[in-house]
Every structure is written in C-alpha cells, then in structure tokens.
Symmetry: C3
Subunit: 382 residues, 3 copies
Amino acid sequence: MNLKEKLTALGKFKSDNYGKDFLLTTEKTLDEIKYIGELAEVLKEFHRQSKSFKLFDTGLGISIFRDNSTRTRFSFASAANAVGLGLADLDEVKSQIAHGETVRETANMISFLAEIIGIRDDMYLGEGNKYMREVSDAVAEGHEKGVLHRKPAVINLQCDIDHPTQSVADLLKLKDYFGSFENLKGKKLAITWAYSPSYGKPLSVPQGIITLMTRFGMEVSLAYPEGYNLIPEIEADVKKQNSNFKIVNSMEEAFKDADVAYPKSWAPFEVMKKRTELLKNSDKAGLGELEKACLANNAKHKDWECDEEKMKLTKKGEALYMHCLPADITDISCKAGEVSKDVFEKYRIHTYHEASFKPFVIASMMLASKFKNPEEELLKRL
Amino acid sequence: MNLKEKLTALGKFKSDNYGKDFLLTTEKTLDEIKYIGELAEVLKEFHRQSKSFKLFDTGLGISIFRDNSTRTRFSFASAANAVGLGLADLDEVKSQIAHGETVRETANMISFLAEIIGIRDDMYLGEGNKYMREVSDAVAEGHEKGVLHRKPAVINLQCDIDHPTQSVADLLKLKDYFGSFENLKGKKLAITWAYSPSYGKPLSVPQGIITLMTRFGMEVSLAYPEGYNLIPEIEADVKKQNSNFKIVNSMEEAFKDADVAYPKSWAPFEVMKKRTELLKNSDKAGLGELEKACLANNAKHKDWECDEEKMKLTKKGEALYMHCLPADITDISCKAGEVSKDVFEKYRIHTYHEASFKPFVIASMMLASKFKNPEEELLKRL
Amino acid sequence: MNLKEKLTALGKFKSDNYGKDFLLTTEKTLDEIKYIGELAEVLKEFHRQSKSFKLFDTGLGISIFRDNSTRTRFSFASAANAVGLGLADLDEVKSQIAHGETVRETANMISFLAEIIGIRDDMYLGEGNKYMREVSDAVAEGHEKGVLHRKPAVINLQCDIDHPTQSVADLLKLKDYFGSFENLKGKKLAITWAYSPSYGKPLSVPQGIITLMTRFGMEVSLAYPEGYNLIPEIEADVKKQNSNFKIVNSMEEAFKDADVAYPKSWAPFEVMKKRTELLKNSDKAGLGELEKACLANNAKHKDWECDEEKMKLTKKGEALYMHCLPADITDISCKAGEVSKDVFEKYRIHTYHEASFKPFVIASMMLASKFKNPEEELLKRL
C-alpha cells in the first residue's frame, strides 16, 4: 500500500480519539489502538519520505517529567516538533507530590496556548496516573468555564500503571516483525523479570505489555521470582479477561517455545508500595535501608539473566529479543545484568528499531486527539 | 465588532510602540497602552478562532529570568511561539547582579538573530529596571554600530518598579468585566496589602496597579499596615498626578464600596532596601535575620486577610476579587494567608480568566514593537 | 554582487560537504571551507534583508554541551531556529566521559527525527574529537541499518583539537577586514598566549587559528612563554605543511609588523594532559593542586598582556585586534588580564562583529551538510 492507500484505509477503524486523553491502553478500544498504531506507521513513512505532517500552525506541547528521562523526552520533543508544536518543559521538583489547588491552578496557567500535555510520573504507586487525571480534569474545567479556548489533551508518558507510548511502540515492532496485527494471534510472548544491579524500576512496562499484548491475541507468559509480582489488581484483571495469559516462576518456563522474549527488571510491588510511603515522608534513612534490602534480594536472582542458553529454549532458538532500553547488559553496563552481551549484541539493532516507533506513536496520539480526521489533513499533503 | 472591524479600529490610537521597548507603563501614553491592550484582545480572539498570528518567519525570543517563575515563563513561551519566534532561555545565575562590560557584551552575543528579549529581574530594589535599560542600551549600540541587523525590543516581565505585562492583563480583565475602558472611570479599586507566611514578595504588582489604574480614571485606594509602604517616590508621583488616589490604613477602609478588591502581600520598602544590600553582600546570616524579623512583623497583621466579612463591605458585597496568582489561600496553601478559602473559590475562575490575558498582552507587545502596523499584517490573515 | 550573483558564484567551488560532518577544518579542502564561508556570508545578508533561509520544514537540531557555553549555545540555537530546526539540548553530566554502548545507543535514541547534532566537548585532551566521531559512527550505523531515516550531521562546536565554527567565523572577519580571501596572503597574524587569572582554557582556539589561517597564506606567528606549547603533533604538522608559520617566544616578537593581533590565554599542553588524567580519576585534590601550580606559573607571565605599547609594534601601530570572547580585560573583568582596557575598548565593536559571523557559519554548515545544493534552494527564495 502506498501512503494514500494507507491513509484511506485508516477510515476502516471505529476510532473516537478526538478530544480525548491517552492515559491507559485499557481505556481504548482495539480499533482505537489500531488506529493510533497505523497512523503512527503512516507518520513514520511520511518522515522517511521527507513529507511534512506539521498539522499545527503554532501551540505548545508541554512536557512534565517527574522522573528522569532521555529517550522519552527526545521522543516527545521530536513528535511535538514534527507536528508543529513548540516544546515547553515544566520543570517540577521531582520528589514532590503536588495535588489539589496547586495542580489545578498550574495546569490552567501553563495551558492558555497549549495543545498537548505529556506527563511522566512513575515513581509513586497510586499517584502517577491519578496526577494525570487531576491535570486533565483541571484543564477540562478551565475549558468548560471559558478560561482555555481549547482543552489540551494529556498523554501518559509513563505512570505507575501503564506506559502506553512504549507498549504501542512495542506493538508496532511486533506487527512489523510478524507482518500484521492478525499474525500476532497465538504468538507466544515471554515477559519476564530479569536481574539488575539497580532498584526501583517502575512496573509500568511489564504491566503495559501484559494488558496490551493479550488483547491482540498473543499467548503471554509473565515470569518472576517469588515475591516480584506486579500490581495484584492488574494481574488479576488480565487473567480474568484473557485465557491467553499465565504467570510462571522461571525464565526458562516462560521462554519455552516463545516467539518473543522480553526480559526486563522491575522492583516488586511490595517494595514499590513501601518506597512510595517513604518517599511521601521524605524518609531518607528508610529509603536507604529499603534499597539495600531490595538489592540484596535481587542478588539472589542473578540467574535471571537472558543469555544464549536460555534463548535456545525459545522457538527454534530464534525468538525476537525485546527491550524498552536502556538495558542492563552484563559486561557492558554492569558486571551482571538483565541480558548477556552476546544476546544483546545480536538483537541490538532490533531494539533500536523497536524504539524508533515511539516518537511516531506520540505524534500519532497528538494528532488523533486534536484533529477530527488527521488522515484527511494528511491526504492534502500528498 | 468582528475581527476585521476590531483590527481596523486599532488605527484610531496614536501609538508609537514600533522600535520601542516596553519597560514601564508610565513611559507609554494612554493611547499606546490602549493599543497594546486592544491588540492583545484581537490576538486572543484570533487564538479562540484558531487563526494564526505568527507574523515572524524565524528569530529568537530570549527570556532572562533572574527570579523564579512558572506563570510568566509560560506566558512568554506561549507568546513567542504564537508569533513565530523560537524560545531561548539565558540561564543566568539568579543571585548575581551583572553590570558593565559583561552585560553589554552578553546582550550583543545572544542577540545576533534575536527579535525580543523578555526580562524578569525583581529581587533588587534599584537594580531590575536599570539592568533592563543596560541590556537595551547595549543592543541599541550593537545595532547602531552594525553588529546587530535589528535591535531586539526589551520587554519588562517584572522588575523592582513595575510589572507591566501583569498590570495590562489586569486592565483587560477590568475592561472585560466592566465593558469598556470608559466604564472604568469612577470605579473604586482597593489594592491592599494582605498577610502571607512568606516574605520578600516584590512591590512591582501594587506599584504597577496604582500607576496604571489611576490613569484610567479608577478611584484607587492603597491600603497597608503602618510601615508597609511602597517605593516612596512612586507613591508620591501617583498622588501628585492623580486626585483619584489615596492611601489608607486598613483593609476595611479600602474595601468600603469598592468595585474591585485586589488584596496581595508584599515586603515593605524598607525591608526590600535592606534585603537588596544584604543580597549584594551575599550576607546569608543577615538575610536570615531579616527574614525572621520580617515574618514576625507580618504575623502581627494576620487580620489583613480578605475574607467574606470584609468582602461584604464592598459594593453590594460583590466586588470583583483579583489576584496575580499564586495566592496564599488560607487552609489551602497555608494555615493563614492573603485570602480565605471561600472568597478565593468564589472568584477562582475569575483569577484564571484574569491570567489568561497575559500571554496575549506579551504577544501584543512583541508585535507592536517589531511591526510598524501589525493590524495590517493581521488583516491579511483574515 | 547582489544576493543572486553571490549565490550563483557559490557554484565555482568544488565542494563535497553534503552528507558530511564538520569536525576539523583540516579534513576539508580549501574550496569546501570557502564554500561554507561564502554561504555564511549569504545567509548573513539574507538575515540583514529579512529574507528567510528556513530550508527545513521540521526536524531537531540537537546540542550536546559538555562544557559551559553561552555564546556558542546561542549561536547554535539561533542557527537551528533560522534554518527551521527545533532545538533540543541533551543535558549530559559534564564531567562524565561516556563511551561505548552508552554513546552508541543514546546517539541513536535521540536522533530518530534529528538533522544536526552540535557538540562541544573540549575539556579532555584526546577525548573530545573522539567522542564526536563515536556519535557520528553510531548514527551512521543506525542509518545504514535502517533505524534512522536520515543520518544527522555532526558539527564540532569546540573540541580538544579544533574550534572550526570559531576559526571560520574569524576567517570571515579577516576576509571582511582585508577585502577578500586573496588579500589574506602574506598578511601577518600574531596568535599569542596572554596572561589570565583563570586556568584550564582549551587549546582549540589557537590550534584552530594556526591550522586554518596558514592555509589561507597568512604569515602566522605563534608566541608563548616556554612550556606553554599547544599539542606537539599539531604544531609539527602545521610547520611541516607551511613555510609561513613560526613559533616565537615573546608577544613583542610576534606583534612586530603584524596586521592582526590575536592574544588569548590557554593552559599548557602538559597541564591539560595532567588535568585530563585527574578529571578521569575524579581526583579533586589533584585538580586543586594542579590549578594552584598552574596559576602560580601563569602569574610569572603577567607581562603577556596586550597593551597599547605592544600594539604600537604592529604594522603602523594599527593591527586588527581579535578575540573569541569573553576576554579577560585588565581593570574590567579582572585586575590583570589578556588585554588592557584601552586596547579592548578601541576594538570592542570589532570583536562583536567578529562574533557576529558565528551563527551564520553554523547555519551554513547545517545547510551544506544536509542539502545537495543549498544555493539552489536559496535562489528560489529571492
């Protein structure tokens, strides 16, 4: 299909993204997610062909990063620039959990000429997604009351629950690798905990993967050492809604016959919960102790490394290795990590390619939320 | 009036803003201020209707913030983006009072492709506005000597004397509320000190209000506890030039029959003067003592809170409450503050609406200083 | 020549800048440097006439500053904005020498929609230019493997070896002053060490000057106190390739009959080498001692100041004084510095004018590396 055909084909999806935030993939229909995904593919092809998809004349794309980020920051900046928005970063104190009037007021004060607000807030369990909704409610009120001419759409750039720009980018990598959304059905994906010498990594990536990929019919195995579970409600929900999801207790079991291996470290739910409390109380000593205990616990599971031997267990020994990057690579970024040097090097370019979808996914979410028919606008550009 | 009529009507003002800085409202004629104000209204309407007022092709809008700011920073960023300028922030060490060759050279070095320089410098009495003039003189020399192709216009984003982007935004809120500039004549405005648990708030907002609103014929009452006066020369000048200005000693007296109530904390002139000296000498101990003494003094005036009872004293108990935000709200942002929770909540959306004029006021100042007839350029866009 | 003629005349140069980085002037032919220079002059004239040279629709111009910078930062920001790129700054920890997989991955992760990467990395001998090549190799691989649609061009904004955007700007100042590239032949340029109360200034400016200006036929004298030599290989290379280069031991000797005087402080090669080792080892105590020793050594050479008496030794006492700014000016920025107050003031506007070429040189490098025939695109704009 050429670009014109691809754009026209977008009309087949029943998609109601216009005027909406993108906060959780679970709040979107499959058609809406497919629409976002295929629009992202179109934008990627526009870029490859040096065609413009700058649909905004002016306006701000505001980013609020309440945790460090280089990759997502540049993805957001790239997307904002490409669609024609000026980037403005709200530099909030990272460790502060702002709520109530401060959030409500600040959200409006920065939004008089804003179109999009992208937020990363993934450090506090029970807080990140909530904060995004507070911002969204605030600007919705501002718009309703006539203070804001337009309601900026909020895009989740990673929260405590989900990381939709990552999981949709991963979905597009899988689509590209296996040929179509249809082809994902029945493919086996192993998303497993992996050892890392660091601690406090969010749960949002594995949670985003299990919730999204099961809906596309993949056979998803989640594996982790005892006690390293994700948010229990999320695990339960995915189980309830899908027969194609199971939790196992070893990397080996998950990898068996897998088409896709996604080994990735995270901090156990219980640790994240304690950490949230300690962070709220600014309890530095407590945080230090928790980190120490958690790292010691991690160290018992150094065998949870994705190495060549384990990869041999996968389908024909040739599963696609995936990672949201940066990975903790044994003998490269650390002594012992999530993945062996050889496995990573074999799939390195694949992981870069996986990441390459993200700026276009963000751009797609921006256009889909702010234009009734982005495809019509884009057709005019051909 | 539709946009075309509004734009055409701008021709009635005798305005000479082209090529000029905007440093103090007192340096501008009433016609020039009205022109800036009505042009801002037009730009706001352009934005509401999603019409472009991006009159610049490229060029930098430079911001120099020598004090913290979120609201004005985003207003400036929004305005720069909307008129077509790229934002570049000069990150100067805040506590440093730069003068002489350093200012002269830096101003030129950053300005080769600059169109606008917005500056906030409000911490040092006798320094902020002076610094803006040094920057302006430096780029004027650079332009005259052929180093700069164009002289960037300097816009005061708050100094020790005035806060013109705020006071003009406030003026537009008042115009909107009462219907016209004409209708402001005779309306009673109470600008009063209010208690705050913080210290060191600049004098520029109340100074900006009394100098500007008296010129529009409002009956302005300035109220503060003994010793909490503004810069004496400014109070004296406003008195000399206007019969419609008085200073009273209680919030109650100022509020009586007021059409508008603007209660806002500030640090007394004498404190700001001492603080400036201590800051110049980097006298941390001295600064700590001054803060302590000042806060203790403030605490004697906790009754200077704008509450429902005091609001009842205003005209029909229904004066418009105004604030430049963020306000210190009792039981919300602090235990005791400038305004009670109930009063603030009643007028909250009004304060957001008040703030919504600021980015358009800044955009208007940008266009008025850099285009001979912005209205003609804008007419072409309709 | 008018703009059309100038643009057409660019065709005379055999230039192969398209798709290439700009890392060292020594890697470029004279024609390529002349092309970059004359294209920069054209862009400067475009800007003077308020004509647009915004050839990019969108795309990122990424800056990586691994050392402080105001002037070059704004030059890069101005250039990016003028050619139509959005600025994105990668805020790396300055003191960190990143290599290997981290550089390779990060370079790709930020570059999905990037067109240009400008890098300043001048603190570590043997590292800065190497780092730029690692970034360039990484994005070249990413492009080759299909991860990046386009390979961003890397522009050296100052490294341990060269400072090409500065030396080409200086070249254009000299061309403007003497009338043509041709006229530079035989003109005597003195580039000399000068006293400064600071230490650790990079060697790249003097190195950039001696390598570039000798190639344009200038008679270049490099002068410094014993032990203050530049990188030995660079001095040797320039000597080998040029008969019009010599090293002398006093400012006076270099200044004799000079047409151009360029007095500028730097840290001796041996000090920079030791400093690099100490920085690599984060040896704070060692760094402190080295600074102390170096400053004490500098202090023996306070007579290396460019004052009126020394300027009298130059041709007719009227050599052009040059500096890359900021200069250490005696009685202005320090007690004793590189240049006396009177000499600097006499040539101050000349130094500003010298600096004014830099943003246009950077813009020229951007366009030359990313457009096959920028002159054709620009001709369409006339």
